[in-house]
Every structure is written in structure tokens, then in C-alpha cells.
Symmetry: C2
Subunit: 283 residues, 2 copies
């Protein structure tokens, strides 16, 4: 059977038998290839997903995240911090993954300043290692929005020249982004620190923040895989009056055309944003 | 040599010799393992990065992207559309990659509605296959902001029941997001269509859009790898007066605390947004 024929028959098998197989964790077909039958989108064949995880040291990962930023930018740096540890401790399949897959996430996707790259890269590590990626990623994002960056631990490491790459020993001022967006996170910090976003202090702030996000991710994964994970930054902690109407669970008429978990007030102010209906009850 | 010692010596080698090796594409050390020496963050060892690419059929990928949405949500669906084709045509290393690595990106990262998941998953495919991921990803994002979704092609496929998964034959209204953010992209479409964001029409709109984004990504990659890529949606097309001051290349004093390529007016209106200095010259 050619590779193409084999692929086609495997797809047929997947689409036809996906429901029957739901609930099993792996199946063995063809010439020794594994796939994850809970998803017909999962045609990867060499290794069963999710990939294995072992407990990692958040402090080692914090340092790697910081240093990884200077090598591959924020998103790749965060993924590298976690995956390189798993490459060392487990080997395959992690040695098959190029961490450059998240290179695009740098600067909130190629400088567009959308999603914080540290979150993007770290969430990829979560998705690689857990079926509960939705819950764990959401926790990480919610934590990020409420956390002062850079952390005191990262500032201390810099002060003591404890990173491998030590570009600054300054204790940097902390800011809380209240947003998972690179644009908001960086701009708030720069305004608080009187710093242009292209300056070296801002780079060092983001490097320390990548380490902090990677370390927190490992804390979440360690807890999850040892059965002790509990969400601490749930959606309900961030919810506010807007979502009583503006939620994907509501009808169009009451405002259900909107959705999301970001803090609305970051962009929508007193009904003045372009996205707010001029007949909003608050106007 | 233990695996740990081997890893340490490899890291030392990388950090010490990275500069000297810059420009080469691969090196061979230790027991038959490859790595990408242009980046000390790249400790992956089994396959050289970027991974090989062959010309793909955008129309086949468009259908796979649509159907992949219903299986693994937007972000995983976009990555699946491209990677599953490369799995069929090339095999390894693509068969080593679980497309679930981008599962977290669904709903703009676990429902947070930040970066559009289709962009997130598609950009991962770009980063996997090209060293120029920054330029190509930026082009894809810029195109997305200016493109009406769902495309006429996707509407036509739905009308003709030409997808594998045909949930609706409706020709859906198109909207242009002017933003790479899920929240903006979805809300604009919902308001235009009188549709709650949790309704099946909105899901079908996003499914078609995932197909459209995956197809465009393949067009970009086909052009790039055949040497004919030219950016058509450059930053300068989107730039406006704000960025003359508010850019990472400017000093703090003239507004260089800001950065990014998103359309400022999506959130900042007439100086009334919380992020705008009350002493802004326009006030």
C-alpha cells in the first residue's frame, strides 16, 4: 500500500470510526503507527498525544525562559524553556519538536502586538502535554492579567547576575497588565517606567516576564499532572456586569453578539468605543 | 556520557559556538543528532529546521480547514489543514507533530478572544516551514485584517455541499474585521448578521474562515518556496499618522512607549481610551 493510499484509508477509518472509538486513548493500526482517536484532526502518527510529562523545576525554567527570550524572542523562548527541559529529561518525542514552531509569536505575532508571545509559547507547551489545555491555558491567561511583571524573583535573579545572559542588574518597576495583549502589557509598563518600547530596559522586562510565565506554566503543569491542580484565577473572578448580557451564551437581542474574557474596560469606555452600540443603556 | 551531561555539553557548545556557526544550516554532533545552530534555543535534535515544504493545493486545504474547525476548533483546525497535507505528501517529520499543540488557540486562546485562532494555527505552520516566518506571518495577519470573511469561495463550497462536513448551505454575509483579534472579528460579523456569537451560523462562519486562512497561508508558502513571494499587505499599507510618533523606533518623549501594527482606531477613539494620555495633542 502506498503512503498516499495508506493515508487515505486511515482518514476514512478515522472519519468513519471516530465516534465508536471516542473514549479510548489510543489505537494501533497499519504499520505500527499511533494516533489519537478522540480527534479525527489528529493524523499525527508517530507518538500518542498528549506527550508525557515529568515534574520540572520552575526556577530552572524561569532562567531558561529569560535567556531564551534573547535567543528566539518571547514566544519561542517560553516554549523553549519548557520543551528543552523535557528534551533533557524525556528525550523523544520532545527531541522531534523544533521550538521555532512558535517563532511567529514574537512581539505579539510578528510585531503586531496581539496576544503576548510568552503566553502563546507557554500555552503551546500546555497543549502538547495535556488534554485539559483549555482549562489550564485559561488559568494561565487569567493569572497573567493580574500579576505584576517582572516578578520579584526575576528582579532578584537579575540583581545577582544569576541568569546566564545578564544584560541588566536593574530592579525594574512592576506593572499589572489587566490584559493578555502584548500592546497593552508593554505600553503600560513603558508608560510607568518612562521607557520607549524599543529600549533595552523594555527588552529585559519582557525577558524576565517570559521566565515568569514559563515558570508559572510549569507550576500549573506540575500541579495538574500530580492531581492537585485547582483554578485560582477563574473566569468568574474576572467577570463583570458586561458579561451578564455580552456573552456567547446569550441571544443576539440582549447583547450576545459579543464574547470573550478580556477586561472590557481596556478598550470600551463609557460607551464611547466604536464597537459599542450608540443606544447602549448606559449612554 | 549521560543524557544530562550530553545535554549540558551541547548547550555549552551552542552558547559558545553559536556566533561562529551562524550562517550554516545544520551541524552534526554527538550520536547522530541534528540541531539548528543559528539559534541556541533550538535544542531539537531529530530533524533540521525549517522542515521541508512541497507545493500544496489551496483548495484542498480550504476544505480541510473548514472541516478541521468542527473537529479541533479554529487554531488546531488551521494547523491540521496544512500539516495533514504535508503528512501525506512528505511523511516524517510531519507525522511526529501532534496538531493538538495549537488546541489552546481555540476561541482566541481558550475563549479569551485575543488573537484569531485561525491566524495562530496557520502562523505555526509558517514558522515550521520557513526561516522568514516573521515576514510571512505579518503578511498573513495584514491580509486577514483587510479581507471579507467568509470568502465567496467558501460560501460557494457550502452552497454546493462540497465540504465533507456540511452543516449549512446558507450564503453568509461577509465582514472585514480590520483587526486580527477574535473578539473584534467575531463581534463585527455577529452584529452585521444579527446573530448571537454562540449560534450555529457564527460557528459555520468561523469554520469557513479557517479554511480561507489556511488556503491563503498555503498560497503564501507556495509563492515563498518557489521564490515568487512578494508582500502585498505591507505594514506601510496599514500605517497611519499615529505611528509617526507611537512606534517602538521612537523615543519615549514623542510617544515611543507604544508599539504594534493593529489599527489604533479599533480601541482608541478621539483620545478617549484609557490608554491615551489626557494631554494628547488631539484633545
Amino acid at each position: 500500500m502506498s503512503q498516499d493510499q495508506n493515508s487515505i484509508s486511515r482518514r476514512k477509518f478515522l472519519s468513519g470510526a471516530g465516534t465508536a472509538l471516542a473514549g479510548t486513548t489510543a489505537a494501533f493500526i497499519g504499520h505500527g503507527l499511533f494516533f489519537a482517536p478522540q480527534s479525527s484532526a489528529a493524523v499525527n502518527e508517530e507518538f500518542e498525544w498528549p506527550w508525557p510529562y515529568v515534574k520540572l523545576d520552575p526556577e530552572k525554567v524561569r532562567i531558561k525562559g529569560h535567556d531564551g527570550y534573547y535567543d528566539g524572542d518571547c514566544s519561542q523562548g517560553a516554549l523553549y524553556a519548557i520543551v528543552s527541559e523535557l528534551q533533557e529529561k524525556i528525550g523523544k518525542p520532545y527531541t522531534c519538536l523544533p521550538v521555532q514552531i512558535m517563532g511567529f509569536g514574537g512581539g505579539g505575532v510578528a510585531g503586531w502586538c496581539t496576544l503576548c508571545g510568552a503566553l502563546n509559547g507557554a500555552c503551546a507547551a500546555i497543549s502538547l502535554t495535556s488534554e485539559d489545555f483549555y482549562k489550564l491555558s485559561s488559568e494561565l491567561v487569567a493569572w497573567y492579567c493580574e500579576t505584576p511583571f517582572p516578578s520579584e524573583k526575576s528582579n532578584e535573579l537579575a540583581k545577582n547576575k544569576a541568569f546566564k545572559i545578564n544584560k541588566s542588574t536593574k530592579v525594574l518597576e512592576q506593572t499589572v497588565s489587566k490584559s493578555p495583549l502584548c500592546h497593552v502589557s508593554v505600553c503600560k509598563w513603558c508608560k510607568e517606567n518612562g521607557c520607549g518600547s524599543g529600549c533595552s530596559d523594555r527588552s529585559e522586562r519582557c525577558a524576565r516576564m517570559v521566565g515568569d510565565v514559563a515558570a508559572k506554566t510549569v507550576e500549573i503543569l506540575n500541579a495538574y499532572h500530580s492531581g492537585s491542580f485547582q483554578a485560582q484565577y477563574s473566569e468568574s473572578d474576572l467577570a463583570h456586569s458586561c458579561r451578564a448580557c455580552h456573552s456567547k451564551d446569550k441571544s443576539y437581542e440582549v447583547g450576545g453578539w459579543s464574547r470573550g474574557k478580556m477586561d472590557c474596560s481596556g478598550c470600551h469606555i463609557k460607551g464611547e468605543s466604536s464597537m459599542v452600540d450608540p443606544h447602549h443603556p448606559d449612554n
